[in-house]
């Protein structure tokens, strides 16, 4: 199977799959029905999965926007409708269904002043809002009830990735990492199928950060290797204010973004994958792989500018660095080092091939596939969002294999996390009887 572990992560997962139907429920008893039934109690009454369409897609028609009239007006043709019932096959129940009925966390953002934490969920295409004091001790197994769960077709949430919060206006922002091509904004009080204030952005937005000093938001565009800036509260097709982009920037598959208003800097994590040919059919230079990095730019940078500092090299231990957070009070940077199941802490002013000052991870930490990190300087805590069913809260200076202070759970303890992120490809390994699914 392909596990799309958070769309931005290239990953192949294999599920043992004895390719026989005998192990699955028979026709007419969809395994998915049982899975949905296992949804947490707090989910009751909330909208079903975003994007779920009925036979004639009434929902999408109702929400059609003029610019996408060609998309949304496309319907099943009369010719096809006439022949459909004569075609063999039809509405057959699956004998096998592999999916996760619970949210799977991705990005995280914290508003310490207002006591709010927001986590995006790629799996069910949603965002969850919690009290900053939420969560239980590591040994607790219960699901943590959110204050709000934003989910449904009007939310524009699909491949929800990065999250940012605006403590002044009490709003949250989420980036859409796939074909939604949007940043969706909501009030902290949003819940259910809440209509987003949506802004069109280039394809492949991931991390997002905001600045009260500039009244701007910045988002990383993976595919175009750029950081693009908009006015806070921008919506519709509002034009970007500026972008950081070009060969001097050394941006390569940028992911996390953090804005340090105090020190006037913008920090970015890069996976290192690069290809102009991805978006430019006339480019003939081929693709490249660069080492992963953390880059720091002046926060008023624009155009093809070089970073002021770069953390890069074997001593850094960077491995698909995903989420990033900056603590201007203690001059530290936290990095979600995703496949290593670790959080790396660097000095804010580090540069070059430097080792992290602390590494947080290990079985006791519960950190598994961390995607997002956030500092709470008021409570002196560090939050970590796993691509799965847990977010952990640590003392800010925690290091090594230590247990978290609290865990926020979106599923009962021990629930598996299938870890898909928009799976769009499959292969069968006939030698091992396994299905291969890339994310």
């Amino acid at each position: 199977m392909i596990r799309s572990r958070l769309g931005p992560v290239g990953l192949i997962a294999m599920v043992a799959a004895a390719m026989t139907a005998a192990a699955g429920p028979g026709p007419g008893s969809s395994p998915i029905a049982g899975l949905i039934g296992a949804r947490p109690a707090w989910a009751a009454g909330a909208a079903d999965k975003a994007g779920k369409v009925e036979e004639e897609n009434a929902t999408s028609r109702d929400l059609a926007s003029p610019v996408n009239a060609n998309v949304n007006s496309l319907e099943t043709s009369d010719e096809f409708r006439r022949v459909l019932e004569k075609v063999p096959g039809g509405d057959v129940s699956p004998c096998v269904a592999v999916e996760d009925p619970y949210p799977e966390f991705n990005g995280i953002a914290i508003d310490p002043q207002n006591g709010v934490v927001v986590l995006s969920d790629t799996n069910l295409k949603s965002a969850l809002i919690y009290d900053l004091k939420a969560g239980g001790p590591p040994e607790s197994s219960a699901i943590t009830a959110p204050k709000g769960w934003i989910i449904g077709p009007q939310t524009f949430l699909s491949f929800a990735a990065g999250v940012a919060v605006d403590p002044v206006r009490h709003e949250l922002y989420t980036t859409e990492n796939d074909i939604g091509d949007d940043i969706a904004a909501f009030p902290y009080s949003a819940n259910g199928n809440y209509k987003a204030r949506a802004l069109a952005v280039p394809h492949g937005s991931y991390g997002i950060a905001i600045s009260q000093k500039y009244h701007q938001m910045a988002t990383a565009i993976q595919h175009d290797a750029e950081i693009i800036f908009y006015r806070l509260q921008a919506q519709g097709a509002e034009l970007p204010l500026r972008s950081i982009r070009g060969m001097k920037t050394k941006l390569a598959d940028p992911h996390g973004v953090a804005w340090d208003d105090k020190n006037g800097e913008l920090l970015v994590t890069n996976y290192g994958n690069w290809s102009r040919g991805y978006w430019d059919p006339d480019y003939t230079g081929g693709g490249h792989y660069y080492p992963p990095s953390i880059e720091v730019f002046k926060d008023d940078a624009k155009g093809d500018v070089a970073p002021t500092r770069v953390i890069q090299g074997p001593k850094t231990q960077l491995d698909w660095p995903t989420g990033i957070a900056v603590d201007a009070m203690h001059n530290e940077i936290a990095i979600a080092n995703e496949p290593a199941n670790e959080v790396l802490i660097f000095r804010r002013t580090d540069s070059g091939d430097v080792a992290p000052i602390r590494v947080l991870g290990g079985p006791q930490s519960h950190i598994v596939h961390p995607m997002g990190v956030a500092f709470d300087p008021i409570r002196d805590e560090l939050w970590v969002a796993n691509f799965g069913h847990e977010a952990e809260v640590f003392a800010r200076e925690a290091s090594g294999n230590v247990a978290p202070k609290r865990i926020v759970r979106n599923a009962p303890a021990g629930a598996p996390a299938a870890g898909f992120g928009n799976p769009t490809a499959m292969a069968y390994d006939s030698k091992r009887d396994e299905l291969l699914v890339p994310n």
């Binding site: 063999p88 096998v96 430019d280």
Partner: protein, 283 residues
């Protein structure tokens, strides 16, 4: 058989793997016990040992200016002719490489251009016995409403050539195709049936003229898995179909065939999962 909410039995991941986001193509070469994954974000194709796990280093990589790779999506293996086929979404090309190619290797053949009619080909499948190669195209330059279709070429075709046959039109139910597989003269394809029109220009510099906001994701008529004969041509209804609310497929993408057990598997991005169907009569 894995079913329900389950974790993978092994994962290939991490910096050394050179895997990237948008892994829209994967194949398993049983003869050489290799996993082949396309990497659009780096315009590359990565080859792994069949049993690879963890932060595995690829055995070889195809990448570089000569490759003509831009956005490689589905990939498929032709063991009979020792060729690797790739559909390139950005350049509207079907590219064939030596199966043991590595580094900055030029394609042996490239099918594409104005005569081909393909627009954003995503899927590719090969029929070595009949010497045919099939593109599952998201859109078409001359198809009804520019909807997608199946474009069938001679396997040895090269350059800007017209397809031998095109399966597209209102009776097909195809809005946009994703992947394809061929077995015993039959084409199995996933009609993802979304029509994605990005709000920004190519390269992501500015919103397109007339854009008033972002598109709603994942809209469009219900998708399906459809089967056609490889000899079909024109506006032909599918010979068989997996479609409807009971299938749990909304906009299916990946597809796997297991004729020996009569099973078809398809992944679905709306459900973030995959589903298997027992339909031995389709084989």
């Amino acid at each position: 058989m894995a079913s329900g909410n389950t974790e993978p039995v092994r994962i290939i991941e991490g910096q050394k793997t050179k895997l990237t986001r948008v892994a829209h193509g994967i194949a398993y070469d049983a003869k050489h016990d290799e996993i082949i994954a396309t990497e659009p974000m780096a315009s590359s194709i990565a080859f792994f040992r069949g049993g690879a796990s963890g932060e595995a280093v690829p055995e070889r990589i195809i990448q570089g200016p000569k490759t003509q790779l831009h956005q490689p999506f589905q990939v498929t293996v032709d063991n009979e002719h020792n060729e690797l086929w790739v559909a390139d979404f950005r350049t509207d090309l079907l590219l064939a490489y030596p199966l043991d190619g590595k580094g900055d290797v030029a394609p042996i053949r490239a099918i594409g251009g104005s005569k081909s009619g393909m627009w954003m080909p995503i899927g590719v499948a090969v029929d070595p016995q009949r010497n045919l190669v099939v593109a599952a195209s998201f859109m078409g330059t001359r198809t009804w409403h520019h909807n997608g279709g199946l474009f069938i070429f001679d396997r040895t075709a090269n350059g800007n050539v017209a397809p031998k046959a095109v399966i597209a039109g209102p009776s097909t139910g195809i809005i946009g195709l994703w992947h394809a597989q061929v077995y015993d003269g039959k084409i199995f394809t996933t009609a993802i049936n979304i029509k994605y029109l990005p709000p920004y220009d190519q390269g992501g510099y500015a919103p397109k003229r007339g854009c008033e906001g972002p598109p709603l994701p994942w809209v469009g008529p219900l998708g399906f898995v459809g089967m056609w004969n490889i000899t079909d041509n024109g506006d032909v209804p599918p010979r068989a179909i997996i479609r409807g609310p009971g299938t749990d497929l909304i906009h299916p993408g990946g597809i796997v065939l297991d004729p020996s057990h009569g099973e078809i598997f398809a992944s679905d991005s709306n459900h973030n999962g995959y589903f298997g169907f027992l339909l031995p009569t389709l084989f």
